[in-house]
């Protein structure tokens, strides 16, 4: 009798642990661990893999971080991330157009992107305030429309810099713009740790990681300020927040602007690591990996923390980088793309079906 209750208790304890970690996250972590274990068996260089994962982490982490403010304020998952990305792209292209080079072009890109992010984010936030409850679907399509609208703009805006426009026409931006001579690897090279000297193929882009750490820390601090806690209050219980004298609309607007700005900075950091600016239709689907990453990290539609961002990005990027190489080495089947599509989008579906919405 005693025995059974004991095991039952233990079972529920285990179950609680599993539940707190989340079943999908558990599966993905397990899968990733399996990949790491299989990597040496498959003859894949372990250090290279780690380098890849860290690199990808440093490229994508800020775009995932951009999800946090909007989730906190109850605006749901920011499927409208492309709007922020557009601001970032405007910053990047204008900074090059104005003739900035090297590290300066990165700083100027952020500076130029900021007003765009503020204006676009402001308009976007204003609109989301009109449609509380239906944010996510609208956000998706706001992202899509803005990307396709900018496609026309990239062709029509009077860009002149020969590094960016089509050579033969002399106008219209190229689909990919190389950042060589601009801010390619600018942060990644800063304090870079390269173990190739010791025969280990491990390179750590310290600068990028520090930059992310700085922004993540600032976000953490922000969430603990008065405004930040107000934001969380608005997200978890709008009625209560209103009663406490917080302006719900203003707080939501602020969170959307913040998300958009982080999206802008996020894409700049991504380009910095990737080495190219991709325009036209490239930003269209960039929101989905970021959304999937934060959900894999354990966030839900209305709850997210910095830890979710870090864990999620590592897991998601690990999955994306590890599976193709390991799978190909073992079974010679390029099934990784399929796995990525199912896992990342399936994760979003899973999160959407969870009954976690505070208000409803």
């Amino acid at each position: 009798m005693d025995n059974t209750t004991n095991t039952l208790a233990e079972q529920s304890k285990l179950r609680r642990l599993v539940n707190s970690y989340g079943v999908p996250r558990l599966i993905i972590t397990g899968f990733l661990l399996l990949m790491f274990i299989l990597a040496p068996v498959a003859g894949v260089d372990f250090a290279t893999q780690i380098t890849n994962v860290i690199n990808r982490f440093s490229w994508n982490a800020i775009m995932v971080l951009a999800m946090v403010p909007m989730i906190h304020s109850g605006c749901g998952l920011n499927f409208g991330l492309p709007l922020g990305i557009i601001s970032g792209l405007l910053g990047a292209t204008l900074s090059i157009e104005f003739g900035f080079t090297g590290g300066m072009s990165f700083l100027m890109a952020i500076v130029i992107a900021t007003p765009f992010a503020l204006v676009l984010g402001g308009g976007y936030g204003w609109m989301l305030n009109k449609i509380k409850g239906g944010e996510m679907m609208v956000a998706t399509y706001v992202g899509f429309s803005s990307v396709s609208f900018m496609c026309m703009m990239w062709l029509l805006l009077p860009y002149k810099s020969p590094t960016m426009v089509w050579g033969f026409a002399g106008k219209g931006l190229r689909t990919t713009i190389s950042l060589e001579g601009f801010y390619d690897q600018f942060l990644a090279k800063f304090l870079q740790i390269d173990l190739n000297r010791f025969g280990i193929n491990l390179v750590i882009p310290t600068g990028s990681l520090l930059f992310f750490a700085l922004l993540a820390f600032l976000m953490w601090v922000f969430l603990h300020t008065k405004t930040g806690t107000a934001m969380t209050a608005v997200g978890s219980n709008p009625t209560f927040a209103k009663a406490a004298g917080i302006s719900v609309d203003k707080t939501r607007l602020l969170s959307v602007v913040l998300s958009t700005w982080l999206g802008a900075v996020g894409i700049l950091l991504y380009e910095q690591g990737f080495g190219f600016v991709q325009i036209y239709m490239a930003p269209l689907n960039m929101a989905f990996p970021a959304v999937a990453a934060i959900l894999i990290g354990g966030a839900s539609v209305n709850k997210a923390s910095i830890t979710n961002v870090i864990i999620g990005t590592i897991l998601y990027q690990g999955l994306v980088t590890m599976t193709p190489t390991v799978m190909n080495a073992i079974v010679h089947l390029d099934i990784s793309e399929v796995i990525r599509i199912i896992v990342s989008n399936g994760m979003i579906v899973y999160a959407l079906t969870r009954k976690t919405e505070g208000g409803k």
Binding site: K130, I131, G134, I341
Partner: protein, 380 residues
């Protein structure tokens, strides 16, 4: 759904304004088309022919969206799944070398069980995410695209038998990037086709579309259709009235998915071949955009909206690249423009729907508050 305006209480000007406000999107599109058509400089017979082709091609797909709207589940982005089922049916028909209209019927029959299973699945998932059906169905279509790839790219060949090597990739498993439907190309459209002043009218296809319309009209009148509308109006009230809300919603998704499968088969027989892995990805978006262009909203869509939508949306689609080229000297502008318009229309419709919903909600809230206040006053 009926307007509650007191007749005669409005002046003509107000009525006109009301009409314009209720039909913003179609009016906008008529203006766009009116501007673009002369710019593009196509001959009328060419334009009419193209519009007729696209009407026959797309109308059935768009009809599949009507029933979930009735059940209050919004635009069914999950119709993509039906399209996938239709494609799988066509792959089998092509592999078994069944040609012409029998091939299409066979493909339709093969697609039914797949569509039903997928429809039940979406319905069940959407029952768990009430209030955000659209984004969920959208993400489901993305996820299932992965599953479709898995089935078609990896399982067809070793697990699901495919007879003809000509259909398979050279590596021995998986279907080639393009499936040719040359043997059933336009077999439905050409049978009983009538030429009127250089415009080919695919009578049989239109008849089938007409039958689907009749089905929808009839279905609205059945007990199930009435239940569905009740569920669409207010889930709680419907539940209190003894309607099995969950089941009704699942059925609406099943019907929509099966219809979408048929629609995809009709669509692809017209085109004559399909890119195996990308044919379905855009279908949902274009169908939804066309329906919204026709004046539908997320909670109200009629058969009239379908036809007006197909005609306006596809006219824009045909003339936009040429117009863009005529104005800016770059045909890509027109291409991007039509993509932008498709997205923008959906965005606009979603924003209008959500803001209206919210306004009604807050109005109801205010009313409730006022009533409560009045009651308190009275009790004092």
């Amino acid at each position: 759904m009926k307007k509650t305006n007191v007749p005669g209480s409005q002046s003509f000007g107000q009525k006109l304004l009301q009409f314009i406000r209720n039909n913003t999107v179609p009016i906008m599109f008529i203006l766009i088309c009116a501007y673009c058509i002369p710019q593009a400089g196509f001959s009328w017979s060419y334009l009419l022919n193209e519009v007729m082709t696209r009407l026959g091609r797309n109308a059935f797909l768009i009809l599949s969206l009507l029933i979930p709207v009735m059940a209050g589940m919004g635009m069914n982005f999950g119709m993509t799944l039906g399209a996938m089922a239709g494609e799988i049916g066509l792959i089998f028909a092509a592999d078994w070398q069944v040609w012409g209209i029998p091939g299409m019927i066979l493909a339709a029959i093969v697609s039914i069980p797949i569509s039903v299973a997928l429809g039940v699945m979406i319905g069940k998932i959407l029952n768990r995410s009430k209030g955000r059906e659209m984004i969920t169905s959208y993400m489901i279509s993305f996820t299932m695209n992965g599953v479709y790839q898995f089935v078609v790219l990896f399982m067809m060949g070793p697990i699901i038998p495919i007879v003809h090597d000509s259909l398979k990739l050279p590596r021995g498993y998986g279907i080639r990037n393009t499936v040719s439907l040359l043997s059933m190309r336009q077999s439905l459209d050409n049978l009983l086709a009538v030429q009127v002043g250089g415009v080919k009218i695919p009578v049989l296809t239109l008849l089938i579309i007409g039958l689907a319309c009749l089905f929808i009209v009839w279905f609205r009148k059945t007990k199930l259709g009435q239940d569905m509308r009740a569920v669409g109006q207010d889930m709680e009230v419907a539940r209190d009235a003894g309607i099995n809300v969950e089941r009704t919603r699942v059925i609406s998704m099943v019907i929509s998915t099966v219809f979408a499968g048929f629609g995809m088969i009709i669509y692809l027989q017209n085109v004559g071949n399909f890119p195996t892995y990308t044919a379905h990805t855009q279908i949902g978006m274009f169908a939804i955009a066309a329906l919204l262009v026709g004046g539908a909203s997320v909670d109200r869509a009629s058969i009239g909206n379908v036809f007006l939508g197909v005609i306006l949306f596809h006219t824009m689609f045909i003339v936009a690249p040429k117009t863009g080229a005529a104005i800016t000297g770059d045909s890509m502008i027109g291409e991007y423009f039509r993509v932008f318009v498709s997205y923008a229309v959906i965005t606009l419709a979603l924003v209008m729907y959500e803001s209206k919903k919210r306004k009604n909600k807050s109005l109801a809230g205010q009313q409730l508050a006022a009533e409560q206040a009045a009651e308190e006053e009275a009790s004092k």
